[in-house]
Amino acid sequence: MPSFLRRAALLLSCPALAALVSACGSPPSVPASAGPAGLLLGKPTTGSSESAPRDAEGHPLLTGYWKLLREEGKPDGNLAKDLPGFALPYSEAGRKALQYNLTQTIDPEARCLISGSPRLTTSVLPFEILHTPKRLAFFYYLSWHRWVWLDGRKLEADPDPAYLGNNAGHWEGDTLVIESNGFKDSADGRLWLDDNGNPQSSSATLVERWTRPDRQHLNLELTYTDPVYYTQPVRYTRSWVLGAADEQLAEFSCEWNTPWVLEHLEPGPGHIGADGNRGFGPHGEVVPDLPLGAVDGADSRGTGYWLYRRNKPKPSDPPPEQGA
């Protein structure tokens, strides 16, 4: 193992993370509104709402730092969030592709590969939007960004495949409709539909309908259509709230994609609970520890396998205590 990885593994051991990693000590006693949850999640707003900012043409501007308004009882990182039993309508090929992801594929995000769309939209982590008249970008927590053209172009029929797809948006009233196609395919072993390891095919199309009904809120209605792996379109809705004026997306360098990671991580997302969550901790934590997968104590340098907490061992976990 390279020395810097050995060093990082040591630094990620119990003493450094004692307050964060359950295996190292007592369960955290902080309320859900404090700690990582308070930093990462949005809170419902109170008081009167302000109107949404608009551009010169009168369209809402989506620029902002957006924090998830988490739905109680609904899983994150799961595109089946709004479906009965959190069950996606797999085709036969989809069931095989799921098994492949569960048993053969190391979480692409754990390798610091670009996490893909719509996976990043299902994440519990905040994101930032910069919106200009002809170009918009989503900036995600792990440093990837997704480009959207707003210059009136139509999607190409057969674009080069990409993790984040090829994206073009248009306005329908005050709704920004972003259509995407040209995704990579889970069969390549480097793209998952969501955190739970569901498959995504290169034939998939995505339609996102984004609205900003007032200054504080951003809403999404998403339809994922994938005739290869699913028998019917999947619908998914979500809302985010604007972060405080002094909150913004910080630098994060996902920099631990090495042969060592490939050799040490097991395939699949690990156990998915009955609540549809891959899980962030044994005590019902709904967000990951912060700093996210830190390396060498720096808050901006991280591993990609931050999702591996209690439901799946991390390579940097300390060995189990004798007699435990």
């Binding site: 501007l61 620029t63 918009l136 480009w147 210059d151």
Partner: protein
């Protein structure tokens, strides 16, 4: 991963670097194709990696015809939004922050000379590991970048699907207590039509995976960077940058560069750096040979052998 696959990845990295540098170095022909105006029909976006696309991606083409006025944002300030490709300077290296110095040699202190020896002989190019390139390195790069500019926030997006985002405000100052980062901690304000970005709290080449520029020059934890960005007309984006590092350099390093607007409708495309990050154990330290032209030497065009060599040629 099999050795064959590792070889393929390694060769891919080397080949990409070679192609990119070839275009950086081969800048003296002066031939400048006609450039469509801002109202030209949208081109199909071309992904980096396609040989045919790389030259047009790398080459900042001069606008032909009368200058077009600087676009302005809702705040009346110049709008820097656009896809910017570097304009090459004849006889000047790309990726070298010392491009305007005699012999392209930066003014090192004694500690700087030691740090240079260390970074060039003992550290792997951070960008080859898909680690964020940081500032000021990205401003010295030969690769294009795209800017999204709103009145309160500006985003610079770089070729490896990485970015930095900076808040703009007259009273903003970078946080002197912020954690160190590859892009440091920045704040921007306007000086009339010039956007001034101040950056501090950067990593140090002697401890961290950061280089000052493509050539493996070092940067220290005392480095501060002041970027003065202007858009004198629609088609040009200009930087005057001062890098002050009293630990490694005897005087502030000045760096001036201009980028040209890409034809409307072209923009950055996805680049998955980490896909090719599986052979990092095989990448040696340093930037390789720096030629007398100040350029990193890996792009020297040389005839390919009639038969590709086997793994033995790579010492694996």
């Amino acid at each position: 991963m099999s050795m064959k696959n590792e070889m393929r990845v390694l060769v891919t990295i080397a080949a990409s670097a070679a192609v990119i540098t070839t275009f950086l170095v081969a800048s003296s022909d002066g031939a400048t194709p006609a450039t469509p105006g801002a109202d030209a029909p949208a081109e199909k976006a071309v992904a980096l990696g396609s040989d045919a696309s790389i030259e047009s991606l790398m080459r900042g083409e001069e606008h032909q015809g009368p200058a077009v006025a600087t676009p302005r944002g809702a705040d009346g300030k110049p709008d820097f939004t656009g896809f910017w490709r570097p304009v090459r300077e004849k006889g000047k290296p790309g990726g070298n922050l010392g491009k305007d110095y005699p012999d392209f040699r930066l003014p090192y202190t004694e500690a700087g000379k030691r740090a240079e020896q260390y970074s060039k002989n003992h550290t792997v190019d951070p960008e080859a590991l898909c680690i964020l390139g940081g500032i000021p390195r990205h401003n010295g790069s030969g690769l294009p970048f795209e800017v999204l500019h709103t009145p309160q926030r500006i985003g610079f997006t770089y070729n490896y699907t990485t970015s930095r985002r900076i808040s703009i405000g007259q009273d903003l100052k970078p946080d002197a207590n912020a954690p160190r980062r590859y892009f440091g901690t920045s704040a921007a304000h306007w000086d009339r039509d010039t956007l001034v970005i101040e950056t501090i709290r950067l990593f140090d080449s002697s401890h961290d995976s950061i280089w000052l520029d493509e050539n493996g020059d070092p940067t220290s934890n005392e480095t501060s960077v002041i970027e003065r960005w202007t858009r004198p007309d629609f088609h040009h984006f200009r930087l005057e940058m001062t890098v002050s590092d009293p630990k490694y350099f005897t005087e502030p390093v000045k760096f001036i560069r201009t980028w040209a607007a890409a034809p409307e409708g072209r923009g950055q495309t996805e680049y998955a750096c980490n896909e090719a990050n599986l052979a990092i154990g095989n990448i040696g330290p340093g930037a390789g040979v720096i030629g007398p032209d100040g350029n990193r030497g890996y792009g020297k065009p040389a005839p390919l052998p009639a038969q590709p060599p086997g793994p033995e040629a790579y010492g694996l």
